[in-house]
């Protein structure tokens, strides 16, 4: 997807958080988010995603660093900064006895906006909550409650929306609806930062992907570029006759036999100097094996991500 050139609407500079007790949950995180983009933050449990969001939104007292929201410092000019931000928390935090529509109205009032029933109706309809508007929250299903949280965040017309694991506990169909909602918001010009464990989700929606682990941002890149740069490819070589083992002459290629020796799988980096495919094919011929088919396959984001985190873990 082509990325429109624009200035950062959110800039995080050297943000740190050391929790009471000395645990460093964020270690000088810097990050810039462009207006109108969807950024997916990926990271394992405990990586610091929620802490990062909390520090930007005012839930957590940062230990150091600076956050600017459209030029407004989140500490010294918090009113202007927070007015632009909508937050959908990871946990379902809702008052159980309150009615859906009143809790959404409350959010709008809290952000100092004039009542706008037409807008609230539009939001509730968009999230398929309009029929439930007079139900108390405790009478809703988990997925509906999550959508109430989104409705509350949208009620004050934020320009930046944080979605902390929007699909947690949401079934597959509803997840697709959620993606639709997010895409519509993007179309309306809302900048979206979401965290997710569903890599499929990031792949389906994000313009850019940031990977965070142990309180550090490992990288932030355009999704497509990331796939290109880190995407490993596999070459699957189909043999006419099966081999009992990989021949000695081909050992150094690290081939993986599958399908009872009918196939050999060769893994190579797309960004490597040379792929080694030509030599491999020649060597296979020289070893007296006969190919009947070759096929390539790209690694998924999931595999990329697992590799990245493993790399980081292996590093001293």
């Amino acid at each position: 997807m082509p990325q429109p050139m624009s200035r950062p609407i959110l800039s995080v500079d050297g943000l740190s958080k050391v929790y009471e007790g000395g645990f460093t949950a964020l270690d000088a995180v810097s990050l810039e988010i462009r207006e109108g983009e969807i950024l997916a933050l990926l990271g394992p449990n405990g990586a610091g995603k929620t802490t990062l969001i909390g520090s930007v939104c005012g839930l957590i007292q940062p230990s150091g660093g600076r956050v600017l929201v459209d030029g407004h410092d989140t500490l010294t000019d918090y009113r202007a900064a927070r007015r632009l931000i909508g937050l959908v928390p990871q946990e379902i935090n809702l008052e159980p006895f309150e009615k859906v529509i009143s809790t959404v109205r409350f959010s709008r009032g809290l952000f100092g906006k004039r009542r706008n029933e037409a807008l609230i109706e539009r939001i509730l309809r968009q999230l398929s909550l309009w029929d439930k508007r007079d139900s108390p929250i405790r009478a809703l299903s988990g997925g509906m409650k999550r959508r109430v949280l989104i409705a509350k965040a949208l009620a004050h017309e934020p320009r930046i929306l944080f979605l902390d694991e929007p699909s947690a506990g949401v079934d597959v169909e509803l997840r697709r609806d959620m993606w639709e909602v997010v895409r519509n918001l993007k179309r309306d010009g809302v900048t979206i930062i979401l965290t997710t464990h569903y890599l499929e989700e990031a792949e389906a929606m994000a313009d850019r992907i940031g990977v965070i682990n142990k309180g550090q941002i490992l990288l932030v890149e355009d999704k497509d570029a990331l796939m290109k740069r880190l995407g490993k490819k596999e070459l699957v070589i189909e043999l006419r006759e099966p081999v009992p083992a990989v021949p000695e002459a081909l050992r150094h290629y690290g081939l993986r036999p599958t399908g009872n020796g009918h196939r050999l799988v060769y893994t190579y980096d797309t960004h490597g100097e040379r792929t080694g495919i030509t030599r491999l094919l020649a060597d296979i011929q020289a070893a007296g094996l006969h190919l009947c088919d070759v096929e390539t396959r790209e690694s998924t984001l999931e595999e990329i991500f697992v590799d990245l985190v493993a790399e980081e873990r292996a590093a001293p």
């Binding site: 839930l59 918090y78 009113r79 008052e95 006895f97 009032g109 809290l110 100092g112």
Partner: protein, 253 residues
């Protein structure tokens, strides 16, 4: 000033009150009626007038204060503790509001409820005893000031409390004894000298004394002192709240 935020919080809190209107009003009215029956009628008939006021009437200001203090503290403390407990506090912390606005919303709502219950008890007491209020404007002023101050105090308790036991500890272990020992049911001039001196350290003495003066023109301590004491306590509470919101104590990890 984000006035709409104050209004939103106020409306939200009042909504909670109206959802449980029955128990909000019924229990204090019932309790007070019991006090009147026991202290005013049964025991009071054997007690002489105090400075020309019948005992039944004499305890009215103290009874109102007792309930108003308990209500103001418990409403305000619960009001802010509950969002902390269920996690909805995230919205207050991420909204473009200052401590003043959040406090104003919760405290005004808790004070309104306490005031309403105070007035209901006053109304109830007319059923039991004959009262003429000598300084109605001062009476109202003392009542409003007390509701606000102790709602503020309750708000601090609600932020401080980390579990329901702590939340109930202060109203039960602090407010009730202070009111009972603060001359709700007697004049502290009836105490031995030493106890009179000790009583002067009890802030509630000043409240009840000032309030009773507004009713009957009788006071244990000069009414000016009462005003100073309650205003001083109000300022202390405000200062503590300003500090809490600046440092994020017990709110922002």
């Amino acid at each position: 000033m984000n006035l709409r935020a104050i209004a939103a919080i106020y409306r939200f809190e009042m909504g909670r009150t109206f959802r449980t209107l029955g128990q909000s009003v019924l229990s204090p009215v019932l309790t007070t009626s019991l006090y009147f029956v026991v202290f005013g009628t049964a025991i009071g008939s054997r007690i002489d007038e105090i400075d020309g006021v019948s005992y039944g009437a004499f305890i009215v200001p103290g009874l109102i204060m007792l309930t108003v203090l308990q209500q103001a503290v418990s409403n305000a403390s619960f009001g802010i503790y509950f969002p902390k407990f269920i996690g909805t506090i995230y919205e207050l912390l991420s909204a473009p509001v200052s401590f003043l606005e959040v406090t104003a919303g919760y405290v005004l709502a808790a004070a309104t409820k306490a005031l309403a219950i105070g007035l209901i008890i006053l109304g109830t007491s007319f059923l039991f005893v004959e009262i003429t209020i000598q300084h109605p404007v001062w009476m109202a002023a003392f009542l409003v000031l007390t509701c606000l101050t102790f709602a503020l105090f309750g708000f601090i308790i609600g932020i401080w409390a980390q579990n329901f036991e702590q939340l109930q500890l202060v109203p039960l272990l602090v407010i009730t004894p202070l009111v009972f020992l603060g001359g709700a049911f007697y004049s502290i001039t009836m105490l031995p000298d030493a106890w009179q001196a000790i009583s002067l350290f009890n802030p509630v003495v000043y409240l009840i004394s000032g309030f009773r003066w507004a009713f009957f023109g009788l006071a244990d301590v000069p009414v000016g002192w009462s005003l100073v004491a309650i205003s001083g306590f109000l300022l202390v509470c405000l200062a503590v709240i300003a500090w809490i919101f600046r440092t994020g104590w017990r709110l922002r990890p």
